[in-house]
Symmetry: C2
Subunit: 333 residues, 2 copies
């Protein structure tokens, strides 16, 4: 029986979408338990049944404008900080929030804490492989760090491997290193050193360097990057996809009658593309290297996204991903 | 009267598209002169008139698989190396190729040479602002370097400013620094230092940090980045746009009869988006910081792209961009 500590107040549509998504997940996964941290009255207005759900009243909320580390230190009775302490104290097995990303990362690092041997936990995101039905890849670190060292990129290769095995059920996942060219001799000082470290570990199915133009085509299952570049690439992909969809919509709307009819006939197809590109079914971003799953879903998450993210957390807990991490790093570092 | 040294053999459709594009530009710009380096016989098979065009016979070609620096050193009679020497020796004012990017960069750095005071020239690319008709922005460095220092990013801010003023006729162009957040306190060691250097120069219209998700929306005219991140972002944007267009096409093709009719009715609109996203009318990538314009058009360039790239080179020469660079850096460095 595993328990998830949920920041019920984080996110644009909180607590509504969080509570609805949690209830849906509760109905699907009878072995899961939930601790909902937040404004009890507001939560109860939405909650239909408190089966397997415990509500913990908190009085503060960390919002999107709060400076992360400061907020974690000062808002001691916030839904996020209280949820993080529940994990730290062993009352819950995972931390989940749709709120301020920086604050969640800070709570993960400073309250939940790092696995011994992992110097800089990294944020793992899941993105769609656009050319393959249902395909996906992970990008790690997608932004927990602004500066990384080669050894940390090597650790991301290992963390990403265990994640892909545990949660995505991929045997021997293909690990690629994000670089400015595919040839082994190409790269920055950082990627050249990281390349050698990863290549030297025969337990990793290393496919070598990958370029950002190819990752959406599924050239590997896990893309390892430093947090600065990973973040820039993630946001470039999201920005381009979002802008392209807007452009398509605007173009159809201003295309005259025939164009509008065309748009109408194509609507189901365009919705299919939109869904493929949308993040909701791929779950949340995971801070890998923390002592427990620390998971962030998008601020604009609806109940569906919350549900899928709980499913993802359940996969991590069911397959005991954290024990695999700690076993490995306690033995090897 | 300005002269452009053209590598007529570089690119997927060379010399055909190169010669056709040059002739079109020759007809448009009577003050320009061209030196076409390559296989004279092949060039003459395409050339309709040699007015203002001189052909220089060369016997070697650097292809896409050649290792750049090695190729520059060994293939002394290649069309690219001979064209670069023409610039170095003052016989031509600019270097243009659609061939191997690395080799062109190496020729720019090692043969044409750097402007005094500029330690690491950067590659400037032009991308479309998707939300604004005809809008565009520059990204610099988009991949000439794998590792950059803060002072170099500051130099890119200056080089980008002069470029936008000279070629794009933008008064007081808005310069942004690519970063992992817009707040001034965010960033890597590199971007934090670069931010301070750029912000301290009151001659620069610095709009602060920009994120890769916003640059396609035109938040600034010039995006300054280190070459590794700039390259990753450029390729992520190109990869996402390309994959999205493919996905749209595939979805229409498999959408059944109504969907296909819809696709047909929408075809003009979709072509409009494609054109907006396509690189051809935005010209080539420019190695800024070299002693003369060193310009690379896409390997798959058609005659139209070659024509637009010559127009872009003409703008740089007409507005004497290089003198502005050298005046500034000779005075200030």
């Amino acid at each position: 029986m595993k328990k998830i500590a949920v920041d019920a107040m984080g996110g644009d549509f909180a607590p509504q979408s969080v509570v609805e998504g949690v209830e849906k997940a509760r109905n699907k996964y009878p072995d899961l338990r939930f601790m909902l941290f937040g404004d009890e009255q507001k939560i109860r207005e939405i909650l239909t049944s408190d089966k397997n759900i415990e509500i913990i009243q908190t009085t503060e909320v960390i919002d999107m404008n709060d400076e992360p580390v400061k907020a974690i230190r000062r808002k001691k009775d916030s839904s996020l900080v209280r949820a993080a302490y529940a994990v730290k104290e062993g009352k819950a097995d995972a931390l989940f929030s749709c709120g301020n990303t920086g604050a969640l990362l800070a709570a993960g690092l400073l309250i939940v804490g790092r696995i011994k041997g992992i110097t800089r936990p990294g944020l793992l995101s899941t993105l769609p492989v656009l050319t393959k039905e249902g395909g996906a890849f992970n990008l790690l670190d997608s932004g927990a760090n602004a500066d990384n060292k080669p050894e940390q990129l090597y650790q991301y290769a290992l963390l990403g491997k265990y994640y892909a095995e545990s949660v995505r059920n991929i045997k021997n996942p293909r690990i690629g290193l994000l670089n400015n060219g595919t040839e082994p001799h190409k790269g920055s000082k950082l990627t050249l050193e990281a390349h050698n470290l990863i290549a030297a570990d025969s337990s990793i199915n290393f496919v070598g360097n990958v370029e950002s133009k190819d990752i959406l085509k599924g050239v590997c299952d896990v893309v390892v990057a430093d947090g600065f570049t990973g973040n820039a690439v993630l946001k470039a992909i999201e920005g381009t996809a979002g802008t392209a969809m807007h452009l398509l919509k605007d173009t159809i709307m201003s295309a005259g009658l025939l164009g509008k009819i065309g748009g109408l006939l194509l609507k189901p197809s365009i919705m299919k593309i939109r869904n493929k590109m949308s993040a909701s079914q791929y779950g949340g971003a995971v801070l890998l290297g923390a002592k427990a799953p620390v998971v962030k879903a998008h601020g604009a998450s609806d109940a569906e996204t919350v549900y899928y993210t709980v499913k993802q957390i359940n996969d991590m807990l069911e397959n005991d991903m954290l024990s695999k991490f700690t076993d490995y790093f306690n033995k090897n570092v």
